[in-house]
Each structure stands twice: as structure tokens, then as C-alpha cells.
């Protein structure tokens, strides 16, 4: 079930009503309802793959007890079982065909012909997210940060909580489980904030992202015929499409969770206002980057074992992050570009400059230095997005090569308005609103006057409605 569908707008109020009016006397009843609703939500897409979700949940639930064993050797065995199980599921559904084809190609170079059996299976929606939920739970128990959950309903809900199930944010057991295991009281403020976030998320997804998708798809599909400036427009369109799409989805997820009394981690904090790449990765898909930091980067040594190993570890997490997004070389190259952009900051010890504040925190406008930093970071990120969006590495290189060579050879084209320039009708208001909200992405600023406030809500609602008919699937569903 998509968030931006009629089905969801029937589903959500029904579950809300049952949750607060029928099951409100018992936390267990609420959790059971939420779990059933989450399975229904997932099964709406495919009841067959619901079985895989349930199986994965059951296994990690059991591994959680094994990993908590006093015998460290036994605990480690269960930890590895969980890793093999979760990564095995990912390997089969997501990566097998890619590696089989690449290994075959490698052997072909050596003159050895292989005929691998390809699985060609459908990628279950949300698999990259719920397997990471399960892994983080087991890791945290192994490290002593979390106790195994006795109640299987509570654990099942942690894995399958429907607002987060198919595209995150990737929650942590120590943050979400205590909320599941304690009573929730209805809070007016929380519910209103939830509704605002849902509306804002729908606006970013349906109005901004889907409108820009039309332009980006057209330009990327016809990139061999477009001039350099049009290709720039296409790259910018995609940069904001993926931002609107994914951050919009996260906002709807966080807002939906608030309606049921849950507080979820932020996943995006205005990443395009980042002053360097390091800050970008503290603001973009925060739940994924922190997951890789805590469960990959730090366990392999982090920055504790000298420069060489630090560089290795940085490349490792960025390449894995690329691979997480898809079994394809262009995602790996995307990760590699980010690793290369991050490296100078790391080597110069400047990767932690902007950890506490937001740009122009106490001012209305950025300084020239801050603006230059934001622009440079945006340019690097946008060039990397070309690899993310392209059908393959070759297309991405052609796109970039053509973009730069055409601009250099024909600079006068800027005198004519390039195709797709209408994207700025969508991008500029989004940037202005994001700039206004930049100090707190969860407390969207609204007019104090009630009529003005409702006017804003109605305008945004109608903008969503009139764009509703031309919507497209969330990009991150494919991961």
C-alpha cells in the first residue's frame, strides 16, 4: 500500500479509530492491532512475501535469546546466524543475479565459460529495511545495549511497524521498543504535528517530486539529444526529485507514527543546506548512515587504527551504502564518488566542523563562505546523483561528459531558456520553505493566526489533490 493512495487514506483513519477508541484500554491490544494492521499494510502489496517478513521476524526474535546467552561463544554463534540469515535473504533476493553475472563476466575474461542459473526474483518491498531492523536488534543485544524482548507481538511490531516498514526510517530497538512496551497517551500537540508532517510530506512527494520526475525522466531518456544546460536541468531535477520523494516519505512515516503516540528518528535535516559533504551525510538518510556507522564502521575499527585503516573503512561504508541501494555498478560508483569527496575532509581533520549548528542559525541569510560551501556540496552531490539515476555507468559518464563539453563548447546556449527550466517553479518554493523550517524539521512553522493557518493547510491540500492524478512510485521502494 502506498502512502499516497486512496487506500492509505481509508486505512489510516480506520486503524486510528480502532487504536484509540477500541483498543485504548490495553497496551497489548493496541500493539496487537498495530501488528495486524502492519501485516495487512504489507500484505496489500504481496501476501506471499508477507511470509518472508514473518519468517525473518521469528528467526531474529529467537536469535535474540541466543545472543543473550552468558556463554560468549554460543552468543557469537547466534549473532553470526542472524547475520547470515538476514544478509542471506538480501543476497538471494537482491544481489545473487548481479554477482552471478559479474562472476560469469570475470571468468569469461579468463576464457572460461559459465552458465549460471539466474533467479530473476521480484525484490520484496522493504527487505533492505526490515532486515536491518532485525540485525540492529541482535547486534544491540550482543553488545549489551538491549535486552531480548519476551513478548513476540512487541518484537514483531518493532520490525513491521507500518509507517517504517517499506522505506524507513531505520529505527533502533533501544529507541522504538521502549515506546512499544509502554503505554501511549493521546497528545493533541503530537497528533496535530503528525497531521502537519503528513501534509508536508505529501506536498514534497506528490507536488514536488512527481512533477520533477516528469522532467528528469524525459531528459535522462533523451540525454543524447539534449544540450548541456538541459542536462544540468535534468540533474538538478533529479536531485530535488529524490529529496522530495524520500524526505516526503519519511515525513509521512514520522507523521503517521505520531498519530499513534510514537516518536521516530528524523531521517532528513535539510541536506541541501549542508556546508560540506560530511555535514551532508549527517543530514541525508540519517538512519542509514548512522546504521552503517554503528554496525559496520565502528566494529571494523572506525578511525581508531591509523590513517590507512580509517581511509579503508570510509571507503568500505560508502561502497556498501552504494551497494545497499542497488545491485548495480552505478550505485557502487555513486558511493565511491562520495567516499572520494569525503576523504579530503577526513584527512585534513575537517569532517566534524558542522556537527552542532544549522547554517545561518542565528541569522536570516548565510554568509558568503557558507553559501559557497552549500553550492559546492550541492554540485558534488548532484553530479553523484547522475550515477544514481542513470541506467548504468556508461550512460552516466556520457551524460556528464556531454553536459560539460556542451557547456564549454556552446556557452551561448544559456541565452535561450533550456528545456525543463520550469522545474524552478517547484524548487524555489521548496527551498524557501525548507530555509524557513531549517532550525527544526519536526516543528514546521505555521502562521499564528488560525485563519491564515487553515488557509495554508487548504492551499497545500489542494496542491496535493490537483497533482494526485499524476503520481509515481516512491523511488526508495526499489531498495
Amino acid at each position: 500500500m502506498l502512502f499516497n493512495s486512496f487506500g492509505y487514506f481509508f486505512f489510516l483513519p480506520v486503524v486510528f479509530t480502532l487504536y484509540w477508541f477500541v483498543c485504548n484500554r490495553s497496551r497489548r491490544a493496541q500493539n496487537s492491532l498495530m501488528l495486524l494492521a502492519s501485516y495487512f499494510f504489507y500484505g496489500w502489496w504481496s501476501y506471499k512475501f508477507l511470509g518472508l517478513l514473518v519468517l525473518s521476524t521469528l528467526l531474529d526474535y529467537l536469535y535474540g535469546f541466543g545472543v543473550n546467552a552468558p556463554n560468549k561463544r554460543k552468543a557469537k554463534i547466534f549473532l553470526w546466524l542472524s547475520i547470515v540469515n538476514n544478509l542471506g535473504i538480501l543476497a538471494v533476493f537482491k544481489y545473487y543475479d548481479f554477482f552471478a553475472i559479474e562472476v560469469t563476466r570475470g571468468f569469461q575474461q579468463l576464457g572460461i565459460q559459465l552458465n549460471p542459473v539466474l533467479l530473476e526474483v521480484v525484490l520484496p518491498i522493504g527487505i533492505s529495511f526490515y532486515t536491518f531492523h532485525g540485525l540492529s536488534y541482535v547486534f544491540d543485544i550482543y553488545r549489551g545495549k538491549q535486552q531480548p524482548v519476551r513478548n513476540i507481538i512487541d518484537y514483531g511490531l518493532f520490525v513491521a511497524f507500518f509507517p517504517l516498514l517499506v522505506a524507513g526510517p531505520i529505527e533502533r530497538a533501544h529507541h522504538l521498543l521502549p515506546q512499544i512496551q509502554s503505554s501511549r497517551l493521546f497528545s493533541y500537540q503530537q497528533a496535530i504535528q503528525g497531521c502537519r508532517l503528513i501534509l508536508w510530506g505529501m506536498f514534497k512527494k506528490v507536488v514536488i517530486a512527481d512533477s520533477l520526475a516528469t522532467v528528469a525522466n524525459d531528459i535522462f531518456a533523451n540525454s543524447s539529444h539534449a544540450n548541456g544546460y538541459t542536462l544540468v536541468i535534468g540533474a538538478i531535477a533529479f536531485a530535488f526529485q529524490i529529496y522530495g520523494d524520500f524526505s516526503g516519505y519519511s515525513d509521512i512515516a514520522i507523521g503517521s507514527a505520531k498519530l499513534f503516540g510514537f516518536e521516530i528518528f528524523s531521517n532528513f535535516r535539510f541536506p541541501y543546506f549542508s556546508r560540506d559533504i560530511a555535514e551532508f551525510w549527517r543530514r541525508w538518510h540519517i538512519s542509514l548512515t548512522s546504521w552503517f556507522r554503528d554496525y559496520v564502521y565502528i566494529p571494523v575499527g572506525g578511525s581508531r587504527n591509523g590513517r590507512v585503516k580509517t581511509v579503508r573503512n570510509i571507503f568500505l561504508i560508502f561502497l556498501l551504502s552504494g551497494l545497499w541501494h542497488g545491485a548495480s555498478w552505478n550505485f557502487i560508483v555513486w558511493g565511491f564518488i562520495h567516499a572520494c569527496a569525503f576523504m579530503p575532509l577526513l584527512l585534513l581533520n575537517r569532517n566534524r566542523q558542522y556537527t552542532l549548528d544549522v547554517v545561518a542559525e542565528k541569522r536570516s541569510f548565510p554568509t558568503l563562505k557558507e553559501f559557497s560551501g552549500m553550492l559546492l556540496t550541492f554540485c558534488i552531490v548532484t553530479v553523484a546523483w547522475i550515477f544514481f539515476r542513470a541506467q548504468g555507468v556508461a550512460q552516466a559518464w556520457n551524460y556528464i561528459g556531454r553536459m560539460f563539453s556542451d557547456i564549454i563548447n556552446n556557452p551561448g546556449q544559456l541565452l535561450t531558456v533550456p528545456k525543463g527550466a520550469t522545474i524552478f517553479i517547484y524548487i524555489v518554493p521548496l527551498l524557501l520553505l525548507d530555509w524557513k523550517f531549517r532550525r527544526n524539521e519536526r516543528q514546521l512553522l505555521v502562521p499564528g493566526n488560525v485563519l491564515a493557518r487553515w488557509g495554508v493547510y487548504l492551499v497545500f491540500t489542494f496542491l496535493v489533490l490537483i497533482h494526485f492524478g499524476s503520481q509515481k512510485q516512491f523511488i526508495y521502494f526499489q531498495f
Partner: protein
């Protein structure tokens, strides 16, 4: 909780009222090409006399076959070709819409394409035309037991959902009337005045096409049904501006259509293989690689009428 529910209820009520008002006020704005409305009007109102033949197909035949020029063959056709309409569309549309208000046709021209059995190409479904259906047909389809896409039916019926952006930008309406000049509408045919800078001249590569057996079944079942009701059928592949004719020889879709033509004794006029001529090489006959220009459709319709006689 009470305060929250009251506010939500009030907000939904105001939104619903404004939505209804907007539907009424903007009903006259329609971003869709207007000739669809005329085609559907013909299904219900039968404005034309003595129509005894229909043309089915995608946009290739919408902009290629002029029924008035086919009159010389002694058959009065109505062109029910729709943009992106393929076998799945017709297998449902013919039963659920056309036959409810019309008899089986005596003559059928089915314009075939080499990508027609690829599920991702000709994606139009009857739900996309929900705005043109009568209320009875709409609710009958909406509540039918089959795999109706009800969400799409709601989106397609509503002015706001369907083309809200378009009524905010009247240029869209003007653009549609420039590309599809409705004043030249001819029993379902309409010229396609594509701006030259929007034209694509590269054909769809065969490697990008994946035929679907279900669509082949839909196609054959429709043909079987028409034959059972004694319709005289012709298959036609309208001319395309493609130099490499091997696409058509290798296309699985055409091999299948050939087999169906043989099985049911249906003449198959393929103007991209056996009947290819210098017409296909003259760019003035085309507005892009796959659609005939105004001039091209006139020449082609006359030529095809001669074959029908």
C-alpha cells in the same frame, strides 16, 4: 482527542465542499484531447448514420486512417483507435463499453504494432476513460467483480485529480488543441500536429520489447469473438519512418499476428515489410518515426481504401 477530531472533521468538510465546488467550476477545463469525448459520444449517441465498420488500434491508427476516405471502399468506418490502447484495453472495452450500446460490427480494421504485446507500452485501460463513460457504465465497471482499478476510476473521473495542473495552466488546453486540431476531426480520426522539436525519430528497439502471453491471448480471443459474429477483419501495420526493416521481420509480435492471420484467414497488410514503398522514406508523410502527418494520412488512407475494395 475531542478537539483534534473536531478540527479534523471540520477540515475534511471544508476540503470536501471546496473540492465539489472546484469540480463544478472547472468541469469545462479538460486537459485531455477533446476527440476522446467525441469518440465516446459516438458510442452512446450514434450521431453518424450507417456505420458498419470500426477501426481499432493505438495512436498509429488514430492519426493514420481517415474514415471518410475509406468510404470509397463502400464501408462506413468509425475510428475507435485510442492513444496507447492495446489488446488488454480492447478485450475489456469492447465487451464492457462498446457492445453494451452497439451491435457487433460487420467490418473491423485492427491496426497492429510490433510492440503491441509488451505490457509496458500500450498501457491504456478503460479506467483511464472513466470521465467519458455514462454513469451506468461507470458504476457497472466500478462495482464489477473483476480486476478493476477503482482508484484509477476515481482519479480519471474527477477534473481535479485527472488534470488539476492542467486547468491551472490554460496553456495545456491550448497545446492540446494545437496538437490535436479538433476542427479536423473525422469519425475518430484526428491529425497529429506534433511540434518538430518534440518529434522523436529513433524507433523503439526490439531489445526493449518483452511480449506478454496474456496480451496475445487477449488479442486472439477478441479476434475469435469477432469472427464468431461474422465480422470481416483486416490487420494493418501503418507505415513508419524506419529505415531498418529487420525490426519488423524479427518482431515476435508480427510473427504472432501472422500466425493469427493465417489461422483465421485474415488479410494482413503490412506497410513496413511486404507493402513498404517510397512512402515510408518520405519524411513529409510523418510527424515522427511512428505517426503519419496530415498529408501522409490522406495519401495512406486513399491507398488503403483501394486494398479494402
Amino acid at each position: 482527542m475531542r478537539s483534534f477530531l473536531e478540527k479534523i472533521f471540520l477540515f475534511v468538510l471544508i476540503t470536501a465542499m471546496l473540492f465539489t465546488l472546484a469540480e463544478i467550476l472547472f468541469a469545462r477545463y479538460n486537459g485531455e484531447p477533446r476527440h476522446y469525448a467525441l469518440q465516446y459520444r459516438e458510442i452512446y449517441d450514434h450521431t453518424q448514420q450507417s456505420i458498419n465498420g470500426i477501426i481499432l488500434g493505438s495512436s498509429h491508427s488514430t492519426h493514420a486512417l481517415r474514415p471518410s476516405l475509406l468510404d470509397s471502399a463502400g464501408i462506413r468506418f468509425y475510428n475507435y483507435s485510442f492513444v496507447a490502447a492495446g489488446p488488454r484495453f480492447y478485450s475489456r472495452w469492447f465487451k464492457d463499453v462498446y457492445l453494451k450500446h452497439n451491435e457487433y460490427p460487420e467490418y473491423v480494421i485492427y491496426a497492429v504494432d510490433y510492440f503491441m504485446f509488451d505490457r509496458n507500452r500500450l498501457t491504456r485501460q478503460p479506467e483511464d476513460d472513466a470521465e467519458y463513460l455514462s454513469s451506468q457504465d461507470y458504476f457497472s465497471m466500478f462495482f464489477s467483480a473483476g480486476n478493476t482499478n477503482r482508484e484509477k476510476m476515481i482519479l480519471s473521473r474527477s477534473v481535479i485529480f485527472r488534470g488539476g495542473k492542467k486547468f491551472l495552466l490554460p496553456e495545456f488546453n491550448e497545446l492540446n488543441s494545437k496538437i490535436y486540431p479538433v476542427q479536423e476531426y473525422d469519425r475518430g480520426f484526428i491529425p497529429y500536429d506534433l511540434p518538430p522539436n518534440s518529434a522523436i525519430w529513433q524507433p523503439l528497439p526490439l531489445s526493449a520489447i518483452k511480449d506478454d502471453d496474456q496480451l496475445k491471448d487477449d488479442f486472439e480471443n477478441l479476434i475469435k469473438d469477432l469472427k464468431a459474429h461474422k465480422a470481416k477483419i483486416w490487420f494493418v501495420s501503418t507505415p513508419e519512418y524506419v529505415a531498418d526493416t529487420s525490426i519488423y521481420k524479427k518482431a515476435g509480435a508480427f510473427q504472432f499476428v501472422d500466425a493469427i492471420a493465417g489461422k483465421y484467414s485474415i488479410p494482413f497488410y503490412n506497410f513496413n515489410t511486404g507493402l513498404r514503398s517510397s512512402f515510408n522514406d518520405s519524411i513529409k508523410n510523418f510527424c515522427d518515426w511512428e505517426h503519419l502527418s496530415r498529408e501522409g494520412s490522406t495519401i495512406f488512407s486513399r491507398r488503403f481504401a483501394g486494398l479494402l475494395q
